[in-house]
């Protein structure tokens, strides 16, 4: 018959080591799939799609007067394909160049309001302010407005938008 822990100190040590080992093995075996489930988003590639925004000539743009144009991305999210409606703020600069902004504040992502009387985008959450060319003119935002990745069609008039921002290495914003 095996000795009890009270009869043999070395037997006691052995039992405690086995108890510890078993707990560790079970713990690690459970932790691996759980960590996998939790960290899974880090290993997923984001679904990037091109979506047609429309024709620029249809927008009747005036210089420095932003137009909010909705765009509907069809993207794969997790187990489903969903429509993500987003605003594209099209601004024609004085020299005729076009800018395609997101209406997300670069501070923490609230939806910007265009205040025509003040010629500014205002953030309703924390008071960020941007001018019509997307530069920060007040409040806490750390950088100019995000610009959508875009391209022109063959007719140089139709615009396609990608659900991705330019110069945004950390993928901030929505």
């Amino acid at each position: 018959m095996a000795k009890s822990s009270e009869e043999s100190p070395s037997r006691r040590t052995f039992m405690m080591v086995v108890i510890g080992l078993i707990s560790t093995v079970i713990g690690i075996a459970l932790a691996v799939p759980i960590l996998g489930a939790v960290l899974n988003p880090l290993f997923r590639k984001r679904d990037i799609v091109w979506t047609k925004l429309g024709k620029i000539s249809d927008l009747n743009l005036k210089p420095l007067s932003p137009k909010f144009v909705p765009v509907y991305f069809r993207v794969k999210e997790g187990w489903s394909v969903n429509t993500l409606p987003r605003q594209v703020v099209v601004v024609k600069q004085v020299n005729g160049d076009l800018l395609f902004f997101s209406n997300q504040c670069t501070h923490l992502g609230c939806p910007l309001h265009w205040i025509a009387a003040r010629q500014k985008f205002l953030c309703p959450c924390h008071g960020g302010m941007f001018n019509a060319t997307g530069q920060v003119v007040g409040g806490p935002p750390p950088r100019p407005l995000y610009q959508w990745v875009h391209k022109f069609g063959k007719d140089k008039d139709t615009v396609y938008i990608q659900n991705k921002f330019k110069d945004n290495p950390k993928d901030r914003g929505i």
Partner: protein, 368 residues
């Protein structure tokens, strides 16, 4: 008949003795009403669990549908508005009562040796309940929920080094998606309630182990010197927990529950407008307990400094609160005999109230 049943159990497991042991704990006598807050919180948490379980009979954690499910619950389920209302107002009350409970413990110095661990267990409960509140707000699935998810995950993304990972894990991807809602749902109904259920017994067990540690007024007639730790084990008078203290607990619980119930019936749970991602003039609002932090976010502009409002100030403040028993190691308990701690506490509370009030002001720019 009843006696026979009692005997049956007593012969086997000594049930009466267990119950007497549990109920017979002696509580310092003078501060009875001040000590009801802990029991009140246990009661409120039970109410949250019970109402929450039955809200799950109807709730769907899927973005636009979540708000429809909540709407159905409120308007088409018999007494659904009351169930939802109790869950909402109960949550608000719980957060508010936790703050009062913490203030009571702080001002009466009850976190001091030997109750350090108890304060820490309480802080864990406080942080978890706050996150439960925030996630609950997100689960309603209305317009505010959507922006709260975005803003808060963006706030989290400013954590040094791991911020980006935290945001992606919380959202279940780069963008707020169906997985985001699913994750928040799992955290709100399983993960965090389980943490609370684990920590409440720890909190209670520690009370029993450390013995009486009442407020200073319990020791007015004590002849033991103030520097002697034994002083705090011998209050002038004690009463048994059951029924003396329990009676007071029940009266307070009933009063608070009545307020919650009336608010649930009369005001109900406002579930807000459907999420309209293309709305041009929507101004998101945070829940009242987050307004102080929300206000902080406005003050730190530009590159680099943003980390003060998103990470440094909240986490340092939280850290100080967490480690309070190890920072303040004096033995004095009476709030009048430790003016520095009392004044700092009052100033902190005033700052919190001030930030909450100005944070709650309408800040949407006029839609000229």
């Amino acid at each position: 008949m009843f006696k026979q049943i009692q005997n049956w159990f007593d012969e086997r497991i000594g049930l009466t003795k267990v119950i007497e042991e549990f109920n017979g704990e002696r509580i310092p006598r003078r501060g009875g009403w001040a000590y009801t807050l802990g029991s009140l919180l246990a009661f409120l948490f039970t109410v949250q669990v019970v109402t929450g379980i039955f809200l799950l009979f109807y709730y769907v954690p899927y973005f636009p549908i979540a708000r429809n499910a909540t709407y159905f619950l409120k308007h088409h389920v018999v007494f659904g508005n009351i169930l939802l209302g109790i869950h909402l107002w109960g949550a608000f009350t719980m957060i508010f009562v936790i703050l009062i409970h913490m203030a009571r413990v702080y001002f009466s110095g009850a976190y001091k040796k030997p109750r350090e661990m108890q304060w820490i267990a309480g802080m864990v409960l406080f942080s978890v309940v706050t996150v439960l509140g925030l996630t609950g707000y997100m689960l309603v699935g209305n317009e505010n929920s959507w922006w709260t998810i975005n803003v808060l995950t963006n706030v989290a993304s400013h954590t040094p080094f791991i911020g980006g990972f935290i945001r992606e894990i919380a959202r279940g991807g780069t963008e707020t998606s169906v997985l985001t809602m699913q994750h928040i749902f799992a955290v709100h109904v399983w993960l965090l309630p389980l943490v609370v259920i684990m920590f409440i017994p720890i909190h209670l067990f520690l009370i029993r182990k450390t013995g009486h540690q009442g407020m200073a007024l319990e020791y007015k007639n004590s002849k033991i010197s103030e520097d002697d730790e034994k002083r705090w084990l011998k209050p002038d008078g004690t009463v048994p927990f059951f029924p003396d203290q329990f009676y007071k607990d029940m009266i307070v619980s009933l009063a608070v529950f009545a307020v919650i119930y009336i608010l649930a019936v009369v005001v109900g749970a406002p579930i807000g407008p459907m999420y309209r991602p293309l709305a041009l003039h929507f101004a998101p609002e945070a829940d009242w307990y987050f307004l102080a932090n929300e206000e902080l976010l406005k003050y730190f502009p530009g590159h680099g400094l943003i980390i003060f409002s998103t990470f440094l100030i909240p986490s340092i403040g939280f850290g100080i609160l967490f480690l309070l028993p190890f920072i303040d190691r004096t033995k004095e308990r009476s709030p009048f005999k430790r003016p520095a701690a009392t004044v700092l506490g009052i100033l902190f509370l005033l700052l919190l109230v001030y930030l909450t009030l100005i944070g709650g002001e309408p800040k949407a720019p006029a839609t000229v």
